[in-house]
Assembly symmetry: C2
Homo-oligomer: 171 residues x 2
Amino acid sequence: MAESESATVDLEIIVRGAQEGKKQELRLWLRMLSTTKLISQEIRRRLRNEFGATLPQFDLMAQLYREHDGLRLGELSKRTMVTNGNVTGLVERLETDGLVLRETPDGDRRVTVAKLTKKGDEIFAAMAAAHEGWLRELMADVDPTIIAELWKDIGEVKSSVNNHLSGAAFD
Amino acid sequence: MAESESATVDLEIIVRGAQEGKKQELRLWLRMLSTTKLISQEIRRRLRNEFGATLPQFDLMAQLYREHDGLRLGELSKRTMVTNGNVTGLVERLETDGLVLRETPDGDRRVTVAKLTKKGDEIFAAMAAAHEGWLRELMADVDPTIIAELWKDIGEVKSSVNNHLSGAAFD
DNA sequence: CGTAAACCTTTGACATTTGAAATATTGCTC
DNA sequence: GAGCAATATTTCAAATGTCAAAGGTTTACG
């Protein structure tokens, strides 16, 4: 009868949910990872060709750009999601190139604050404008509605991940 | 009348589309990047703690796992999106640990084929099972419908990016 | 005050990453 | 069959990345 038919259908749905759905998260992760790598590589190539800069340098300067008073290295480390030791070297190289300067505030000599030099500020402004254009260009075929939805939904993924980290960490 | 009112509304939409929508792609990219970094770091930490392995090693072994006959280093490089020179070092270390072996086929002595050893195969199977579980766990708060949608929509992003790369490259 | 705990950055060892140049091998062409 | 383009991998220098340990500095507590 209709009952046994729908029971069969339900079973199929359950089975499908348990099998096909099983690795959905893994599939999503692999696709996120490959897409992010693809975009990163392209951005890296363009930054290198057009500005002679690296992606980590760009990221670091982006943080300093919107904090005119500079940031402590630890804060830079958190924002760029780069380890402390790594920030040290990055800032060192940028300082050598005259894009960033380091200073120790009077109050606390444990602290080092990094800020953009005038030159660094000017160069970054140009890079940021180009960078934004590149992203618009790379995603040109994607409907704006989908872009907005992706932004929202990836936000949910990020929240979920933050809630399930083994160490402590937040958004 | 209604006409001038709707004209005003349209203008607003246009302005909003031109201003708020302007950096949508950039916002999406920043969120994708930070989310991917977050997940990568967590996976890396767990791989290290529970298996003493690194993420690139895991990625490389994942490719070899499903190709029982092994892969040429160039093919490995493409699939893992890692440069040639990098593959050399990765495989070298994995060979030292007895997880991978290299051999040169008779036909073409330019080629090096890497494949998993029995030990490598066994260890990877355990890592893969854990890895899949970690992802399910990390994304546990996200509705399966959204997971599926994200997979599809990120696919569109990837296609678009592939169509706008400066060098040649494909999916 | 004096010491221990907490905080911030640097250093060191090692792995990964890129890009370009160097090697080695094969295949094609005249 | 000698020369040369195309393939495939390795090597190299420089930058980025993690983690753990070490260095100073400041704060808090007895």
